[in-house]
Subunit: 491 residues, 2 copies
């Protein structure tokens, strides 16, 4: 056995245990009896303690050093790159700082939920200040002299730099605001009416998931309060939710999560239970869910087919004709909540969070001043005022649990989805004819061949560049949004 083999055998067990931890989370969100929460947190804690002990095992450093002297192919080099990155991260953060962060974020989540319920930012501000201080300290340790925010970003999007994202997002912002302004001044899009039975929604959701290429023999669909996808390889489960007056919530959540899940299911099986056996970054993951949900799922061609399916499933629901249905699915609307935002304004939400969290981490914005800064920026970008903190800076859990550097990967995913959709349309010229038949097969095959199968083999940006034949930029996304929404909302 070489050092590389030893390391990979060890890593394989760690990956398997991480899958178990993922399954426990799925269980908690879907089927766990509500009285089991306390006991479960102890069970989860014990498993995470095992995972942590494995990550700090000193043998990993020794194996890495020895394996670096061994002849390896491209896959082996990529495996080592992932393991080394995770190992260096662990080495750089002192144990007591990691423990303090774990303790504080566990507390802060409850304080955030209470503050949100009370619409009381002042109650949360000191907690946030504590989290920011700890994360800055951790970021500085991770950065090792480099940029602190970039070091945080690297956890979710390896290799990404805030300066690049700033340029990308800066180029998007005026166009997004212009689209938002013209749409919100125009007549409202048609709306569905009536009640949509949950069972019928779930039936159609299952059908849509299959259309997206989701393999139900290696996955399953359940309901959860917040839809998510979990697991890798041969056990990738998704959840969705149903609202009786809004079928699109269920159907497009399902397509979004199916996009994530199909990515995991499509990775080369040779990478299963290794560091290459999962989606390579949050941004690339989001690109796969967004292209399925939006560029494919909300296209005029696909919604034409979906309209027929919905008429079959629900009868008359107040929308006459496929064009009106397309407008309903793609309506731009006022709203304060990121997770309910449309394709255009979603990015405005992310852009402001990106700027605000960088200011928090840089120390240019005091946590106590967050609410004011949030509200001012919201009004500037969205055109109306935030009435209360639960609809403003307290709406997302992310910062309370220490997630800084995570938000921008959502819009980066949209940017990547824009690039990939452009390349896909070049590769499959009659894509719309296929989508109009409810057929995503060739589109998903292209994504699988060019993105998904590679798992963690290439760094994220390189992966997208290889797939598209050019470095990613925001231009395709902006062009797509402008073309689509200026047609739907002519000024």
């Amino acid at each position: 056995m070489s050092a590389y083999d030893d390391l990979m055998a060890y890593q394989r067990q760690t990956e398997a245990l991480a899958q178990v931890a993922g399954r426990l989370s799925w269980d908690r969100e879907t089927v766990m009896p509500r009285g089991a929460a306390m006991q479960r947190s102890e069970e989860t804690g014990a498993l995470h303690a095992v995972l942590h002990a494995r990550k700090v095992d000193p043998r990993i450093g020794e194996w890495l050093e020895a394996a670096a002297q061994e002849p390896l192919d491209q896959v082996g080099e990529a495996q080592l790159r992932h393991i080394r990155r995770s190992h260096e991260r662990t080495q750089r953060v002192p144990e007591d700082l990691a423990a303090a962060l774990a303790r504080q974020t566990a507390l802060a989540q409850g304080r955030w939920a209470q503050a949100r319920a009370d619409d009381d930012f002042a109650a949360f501000a000191p907690v946030l200040a504590e989290i920011v201080a700890l994360r800055r300290e951790e970021g500085a340790a991770l950065a090792d002299g480099g940029d602190v925010y970039d070091a945080m970003l690297d956890d979710y999007e390896p290799g990404a730099k805030a300066a690049d994202l700033e340029a990308m997002f800066g180029a998007l912002r005026p166009g997004l605001i212009a689209l938002r302004e013209s749409a919100l001044g125009a007549p409202a899009a048609p709306k569905v009416t009536g009640r949509f039975k949950p069972q019928a929604q779930m039936r159609l959701a299952r059908q849509l998931a299959r259309v997206c290429g989701y393999d139900m023999t290696r996955g399953r669909i359940d309901k959860a309060v917040h839809p998510f996808s979990s697991g890798s390889g041969d056990d990738v489960r998704i959840t969705t939710r149903t609202a009786e007056d809004d079928p699109f919530n269920c159907l497009y959540s399902t397509m979004h999560e199916a996009g994530h899940a199909v990515y995991e299911q499509s990775i080369d099986p040779a990478y299963a239970l290794t560091p290459l056996g999962a989606g390579v970054s949050m941004g690339v993951h989001e690109s796969q869910s967004r292209i399925v949900e939006n560029q494919l799922g909300r296209s005029r061609a696909f919604t034409g087919w979906l309209y027929g399916q919905m008429r079959d499933a629900f009868g008359d629901f107040g929308i006459e004709g496929a064009d009106a249905f397309y407008a309903a699915v793609n309506s731009l609307h006022r709203g304060f909540i990121r997770t309910e935002a449309d394709e255009v304004q979603y990015n405005l939400h992310i852009l402001m969070r990106f700027d605000l969290e960088r200011a928090l981490i840089a120390g240019d914005l005091a946590p106590l001043d967050l609410e004011g800064a949030w509200n001012a920026r919201f009004e500037a970008d969205f055109g109306y005022a935030v009435p209360r903190a639960s609809l403003g800076c307290l709406q997302d859990v992310h910062w309370s649990v220490g997630l800084f550097g995570y938000f921008p990967t959502y819009s980066l995913g949209n940017v990547y989805a824009g690039c990939l959709a452009e390349a896909l349309r070049r590769a499959v010229p009659d894509l719309d004819a296929q989508l109009a038949q409810g057929d995503m097969g060739q589109a998903m095959g292209w994504l699988r061949a060019n993105v998904q199968q590679h798992g963690g083999l290439y760094p994220p940006r390189e992966l997208i560049t290889r797939a598209c034949g050019a470095e990613p930029t925001e231009a395709p996304l902006m062009a797509y949004l402008e073309q689509k929404f200026s047609a739907l909302y002519p000024s």
Copy 2:
């Protein structure tokens, strides 16, 4: 921190991880996508490797030694007794023998399933011989000079001795055979007719589980191929199954598993995630499921109430009146399969397995000769011949996975249930009046106070003796069966 505290903190994490392993098994049997089986076995394997490494950790021996010098209360002494027992077991079995057994039983289960499908005992015999040889070797190591079979029995029923069980079972056998003979010569009991909708069965099953005291806020009911109960403390889940022509399968499986589950749910919460926080032995566990299913659930009083519930749920199902319903629920019938056997003949199944497996382990019966010995004994006890191996010695998975010493705990559970039911009726003189109202509350309260809450505090036999006020014997079970079935089948 004392050595005892250190040991218990360590043990607590082990117990939490064991609960996670149990949750994974539940997942596999209920919700796991079928394509996930291979990956799952690796995930489970990784978790069991962690559990094994914790069990052989040399610190346990050091802590045990140091803790023995510390002042401890009754609970502390009982905790140490359990940990010491498990530790000694681990110490006695050489690692390579344990590994060989794990490997062989994993293989043998597949070979058994194939042999059963082919009705081909000869194909399975060499596999069985290998398992018997390995288990004898392990048993000898565990026995450390004592009786080999007793050492195996001790894994499932601490402190039990085969000689005692032999005497008990020997005293039961003639009475059981006599009951079987007179019943099978009598007119057949009435049978249900029609179709019973699975959804309505499950609704009634949920109601029955609640009647048995099952706390659904700390559990849940799903369907599985083979009903089981899993988990301890605040997450104890049960499964059942439905057959459209036989509602009793679902309803009495549910009551049986609810009996197991309520035991786990009723253990003193102070013992959660410790060695005392689970049912103390297989026999005691089975006593709790059997008393709920049989002595309570199949009583004339309770079935009178259940008859009304079933009429409400299913309308007319071909049984006229509560007496006929009672006879239908308690019909004695011909059959070859243990898991489908009635209250009387179930024990005949166990008694023959107990004798046969002791002969296998003692070397008095060659594995190759098992089929002949099985068939001869079956015809002697049941009165008719076994037509093929799948209905005979290949019907149970147990021996293929190395479970020797396990079967007798089923009938020991019935014996304990007989003793407990007698004591319960003394303590609650108007029990039948309560059962006739569908009320098991006081009965379950008595079981909770006298048996269940104690978890692993007392050794099994001592626990039953304390609850009943006398040493357990087979006499109450035999008296109960004779009284019940000689009335139902007068000769």
